[in-house]
């Protein structure tokens, strides 16, 4: 595949525009350096150790994963530091995590005494010292302890458990869907960090941020580490959130028109098995942005069929034509592809196996 023209790739194929990707990496590296923020990118977006290495080389202090199996894969990046941003429950997974900790510095974010106790037991048995971030619920209502005495208690318990050391707090403000006001979040984070420190706890790291709040991270009181993922490629949701524009989207799925039997519609050879059925962050139902026909609406999917409404499109499409589609959510799309293609100037410069795809445990 290397050196092949993009036109010679079979479809559907996920293409990464290398110029755009490199620009995206540079922009966030510059931003974090300028504002003295520690960068620990979430690798769930790309799932490729070689790209994790690129992030480290461009200034990231470490990498973030959600699963032990992803941590195992991401060791291949040579990262000196891995944050597992997920409570790891159960002896089998914790044993594997301790194996990972033999190769790189490991930190875990968690939100319960039970998870902390299990981690402490595993760390002691393996003679390891594991960093822990106490997870705060900053409004999403997913994992994380609500601000207040319960969070102080959890942080204190972590601090006292053998084999663990409290590094700070982590949060994910996923409820903020568009670029905008971070004042309330800033006030919350600042007050939580102060409360923990008043309680005598050493809070070295305040780790947070999300894609829509990425470039406002410096405005969040006390925040000193961010874990963005999507920024390496960006996607239609990032555009919709206002955090990037079309020219910043590095990943697209090239698809072929396979049917035009129904007037005003074309069927492309990718559906939910290629794009995922993730809907956009807005209320509309559309599964991607068709680069060659921005007026087209990608209205519906089955597993292998993409339904594209072309009634508002000025040009014609014929069977065999190819289009490139920016997916709503690139992380889940990456997870569906065995290989992706790094392209520059119309040619394939890199073929990457998505080594971390489908790593569930």
């Amino acid at each position: 595949m290397l050196g092949k023209s993009v036109a010679d790739l079979e479809t559907p194929a996920l293409l990464i525009d290398l110029d755009i990707m490199e620009r995206n990496l540079q922009r966030v590296a510059d931003y974090t350096r300028e504002h003295g923020l520690r960068l620990r990118p979430h690798t769930k977006t790309h799932k490729i150790p070689a790209l994790g290495r690129k992030q480290i080389e461009s200034g990231a202090a470490g990498l973030t994963v959600a699963k032990v199996s992803e941590a195992e894969v991401m060791l291949g990046s040579g990262t000196p530091d891995l944050l597992v941003a997920y409570p790891i429950i159960g002896a089998a997974k914790l044993d594997r995590l301790m194996q990972v900790a033999a190769h790189t510095r490991v930190t875990v974010s968690l939100d319960s005494l039970e998870a902390a106790r299990q981690l402490s037991a595993a760390a002691q048995a393996a003679h390891r010292d594991i960093g822990v971030l106490a997870e705060l619920d900053a409004g999403l209502g997913r994992v994380g302890v609500a601000p207040g005495p319960e969070l102080v208690e959890l942080a204190r318990a972590i601090d006292r458990l053998p084999g663990l050391h409290l590094e700070g707090i982590a949060f994910y403000p996923g409820q903020i869907k568009t670029v905008g006001e971070t004042a309330a979040l800033s006030e919350l984070i600042g007050s939580v960090a102060r409360e923990l420190r008043r309680a005598g706890l050493a809070i070295a790291i305040v780790s947070g941020g999300s894609t829509p709040t990425l470039f406002e991270s410096h405005k969040i009181d006390g925040l000193n580490e961010i874990r963005p993922g999507t920024y390496i490629f960006n996607d239609r949701n990032t555009m919709l959130s206002g955090a990037c524009s079309l020219e910043d989207c590095a990943a697209s799925i090239m698809a072929t028109v396979v049917s035009t039997a129904k007037p005003g519609q074309m069927i492309i050879d990718g559906g939910s098995k290629t794009f995922s059925s993730d809907r956009p962050v807005t209320a509309e139902v559309s599964f991607g942005h068709v680069v060659e026909a921005p007026e087209a609406v990608f209205t519906k999917m089955n597993e292998e069929h993409g339904y594209v409404d072309i009634r508002a499109v000025k040009r014609d499409f014929a069977i065999g034509d190819r289009v490139r589609v920016i997916p709503n959510h690139v992380c889940v799309a990456m997870n569906l592809h065995e290989f992706v293609y790094g392209v520059r100037g119309g040619y394939v410069e890199q073929v990457w196996r998505v080594e971390g795809r489908g790593k569930l445990q």
Copy 2:
């Protein structure tokens, strides 16, 4: 893993109850035999050659796939016959399809003269004879030619193209979401087949059916072949359609409770990367049926987090508890798992690699 207790598997894990699966296979084999219907199951549901072989052994005449890459994988089942129920466009894919045709009898369903011409050229170059089903749009508005003169023209063109032989017609009535009236569909299919035969075309196969209409296939005029997929496992959508009950659902995803920080909610260690973000066929937003807590509502997902509302549930859940969840759509869930586990009596009897997962081209 073989012989392990299910309790010793790491989560999330997709489990197949072998007793239920075998009963499901038997039921459809009996039904098709009783009604003289040819059975060519769609293997997109399981994506495992060993299960394709089981379908052949229990009376299927052949197997169905959607992609050439799936056809390549499914050769491993030893099937004597493969239907590629998708228009195959482009020389590279057609070359690979001709390689498949060196090993088993291949039929393709398609809906355009362009697709037929490309297939004819590839068949001639490879000195193969490929069966073709002309695809009819029976109301879904996806692929398929509308009933009428255009369909007759397509069938006639296929009949005349060298390297191809017209076997009949295919359709997929995906617009029928619940078990019920098939009278209108029956009338349509019967009249289309008669029209084609009146035009002098030999229509040996009338291939159709969907999961909700599966056990009403014998009521559809002229239908003599069905291609059900989901019936091997069934899923929550099959239940919602009325075509099966909970005891017929063979596939479930075992997950672990990882957070109970928010009152009235538990977070399980599987989200859209484990279940897919496919919504149910009904209007409600729920991503699965929790076997241990039928009153629970699986309200939301991120990639690695399942949000389960347990306010209406009588029992308590603690971190580390395990639940089994029947997914909305089992085909897309299978595509996300590298391995699945065939279980009986609480023990792992089979470990299958999902060889056909992620086969996009």
